[in-house]
Symmetry: C2
Subunit: 172 residues, 2 copies
DNA sequence: ATATCATATATCAGCCTGATACGTATGTCA
DNA sequence: TGACATACGTATCAGGCTGATATATGATAT
């Protein structure tokens, strides 16, 4: 989605590769995108004059740095003010659990334990992000980053509580 | 995804339209699919002999009823035992919030309030589902339905708690 | 009568994912 | 020094899915 890219470029000029990295770190909890959509989107953003490209060489490595334009900032702000179209949770774990009656509790318990492990592995990163952001209370943007980190923290904790309850139920 | 359809057909024979309805009710919290994927998937499942089709007329209306085969049940069971590939949360609300520094707190607060409304509207359905499923404790499959409903309940409650905290932070 | 809604199937442009390909720089182990 | 792995960086593409749209009938309400 082009507005995610504009959002990231609003703060700093980036290469396509760096945009992907931001998504895989700061946004990974609630958004993702592949190179197969990032590069073509960047081209179309350049075509629409919402970003400009600057080809350069850094330590012998060719790269393209993208910078947002005023029109791009305008476009982003309009989109930000628009109501949200879709919030989607798509959990294969829950899908397999829903059909758990076709297998037995053992397989379902294994899915729950795997889910629990993944959540437990992620949670410290969210807590660390919250902790850091609470330390710098004044930079305007940080407050918004904090909100999303707090969301992740709360939700992941709820996941873990559910895991305990679900395991208890399946173990009789 | 073909295994969702097999899972639904495992319990009862259905038309494509009814499959869609199940997804929009029982599964809507954690899974969704469009007609544009359901009908072609059903065709390919028939081609692979995982389901059979039966064309009929009901009250003068033509319809096609799909029934799972033994091979289909086998296929489903294998898939259910496989580890989960992807659990994905994709919340536009969090994305817009993350970039909230570009607008102002008013727009972000509006997104939070809208999110809160949607969650509050959904929660009663999950609670009602939990309540019903807890009442019939013996039918094997219900225990698994209950797990997913409980997940939704817990998560939605965590969402609402976060909404309160987020609003407090943005209102200073 | 007629409008609206639910049932029912189907197609399709356009977008996105996951995989793959290609190439450079840096760090590391032997 | 050479060999290998990892990070950086760009790019393409088959295949799958969404959201929109089209078509048609039965049921219900006004």
């Amino acid at each position: 989605m082009d507005c995610v890219i504009l959002g990231l470029l609003c703060h700093e000029s980036l290469t396509g590769y760096e945009i992907k990295k931001r998504m895989d770190t700061a946004l990974r909890f609630f958004w993702s995108a592949s190179f197969g959509s990032i590069y073509p989107t960047l081209n179309s953003l350049v075509h629409d004059s919402l970003v400009t490209k600057f080809e350069t060489t850094d330590h012998g490595r060719d790269k393209v740095i993208y910078t947002i334009t005023d029109a791009g900032r305008e476009h982003l702000k309009k989109w930000l003010a628009l109501p949200v179209k879709k919030d989607e949770l798509r959990y294969e774990t829950l899908l397999k659990l829903f059909f758990g009656g076709e297998t037995g509790p053992d397989i379902s318990l294994e899915h729950i334990r795997n889910f629990e492990s993944r959540v437990k592995a992620e949670l410290p990163f969210l807590q660390e992000a919250s902790r850091k952001l609470k330390g710098i209370p004044d930079e305007k943007a940080h407050r918004y980053y904090l909100l999303t980190a707090m969301f992740g923290e709360r939700v992941y904790k709820a996941y873990l509580e559910w895991c305990e309850e679900a395991k208890r139920i399946l173990e009789e």
